[in-house]
Amino acid sequence: MSIADRPEHDPAHCREMFAHLSEYLDRELDETACREIEQHLRHCDACRACCATLARTVALCRGMPAHAVPETMSTRLREAIEKLRSGDGTVSGAGPD
């Protein structure tokens, strides 16, 4: 059984709130929609737990450490650009559009 089937929930409303949790976390909802979600979260343990774990997932992604650039990549890139600057290189087509 999923949360949408629980008798204490209005399944359609619960699903609707669940569908907008990311927008809520990103502050992309208007004030009325925010209030509606907050009201729902006060009464729905499952959505509240989901919202907290979702927020944590986003925070963990944002906190991911960056990998260092391999030395060989910088050297290879510099050589390739140097060739282009001297009119000696070619570019495989992948322009802006």
Binding site: E23, T53, V58, M64, H67, L84, A94
Partner: protein
């Protein structure tokens, strides 16, 4: 059709504007400054989209070579950074056939609705602990694996929004999607990654109990 006019304000707001203007005016040796500014971010973007360091390196190289070739046509109609990532995405798409990508499939919201066993559950400890106590090397690797397991129409949305820090509108512009579409895909992608993390933390909890 005439090109949209670009205000001086748009140009001034772009932190790369003066450097790009100098390069386009003939100081091509300054192109390396542009490379220095973005190579690490692009390399990490490539790693998260392609999964392999060698593919990411090739992607970065192809992207910068294309930027060098087309920079003279850049008209500040978007931020330079957004244009750069648009080229990077287009390079990734062209290289896709040669890389190992997760199979494409639609993620449905219903598959992420909390199940019966979780309804009475309290907010789990991993959602309450300080971030720096959680994010170690192993967890970072699990997150990277979860991102790579995302179907390919969801992965760039999550990477651009939650790892590269682009706004919804910028992500939509880079990926040529509507903002609504970005929001829907982002939510499902986050729910997918969250499921993988839940499994990881449940396992960790059992192991430490």
């Amino acid at each position: 059709m005439s090109k949209p006019r670009v205000s001086k304000q748009q140009r001034t707001n772009d932190r790369d504007a003066s450097l790009i203007e100098a390069i386009n005016a003939g100081e091509t040796d300054r192109f390396y400054e542009l490379v220095q500014r973005y190579q690490q971010a692009l390399f990490n973007f490539g790693l998260r989209i392609c999964g392999q360091a060698a593919d990411a390196e090739d992607m970065v190289q192809d992207t910068f070579l294309n930027v060098f070739k087309y920079l003279g046509t850049f008209r500040f109609e978007s931020q330079f950074k957004n244009w750069l990532y648009r080229i990077a995405m287009s390079v990734c798409i062209k290289r896709r056939r040669r890389s190992k990508f997760a199979p494409e499939r639609e993620l449905s919201l219903d598959e992420f609705l909390p199940g019966d066993e979780q309804i009475a559950a309290e907010t789990p400890a991993w959602a309450r602990e300080p971030l720096d106590r959680l994010l170690d090397e192993e967890l970072a690797r699990r997150i990277e694996d979860a991102i790579l397991a995302l179907p390919e129409s969801y992965r760039p949305v999550l990477v651009l929004r939650d790892l590269e820090g682009f706004s919804t509108e910028e992500t939509a512009q880079i990926l040529n999607l509507t903002s609504g579409n970005v929001k829907v895909r982002l939510h499902r992608a986050r729910l997918f990654v969250r499921e993988q993390l839940k499994e990881y933390f449940n396992h960790e909890h059992r192991r430490s109990a």
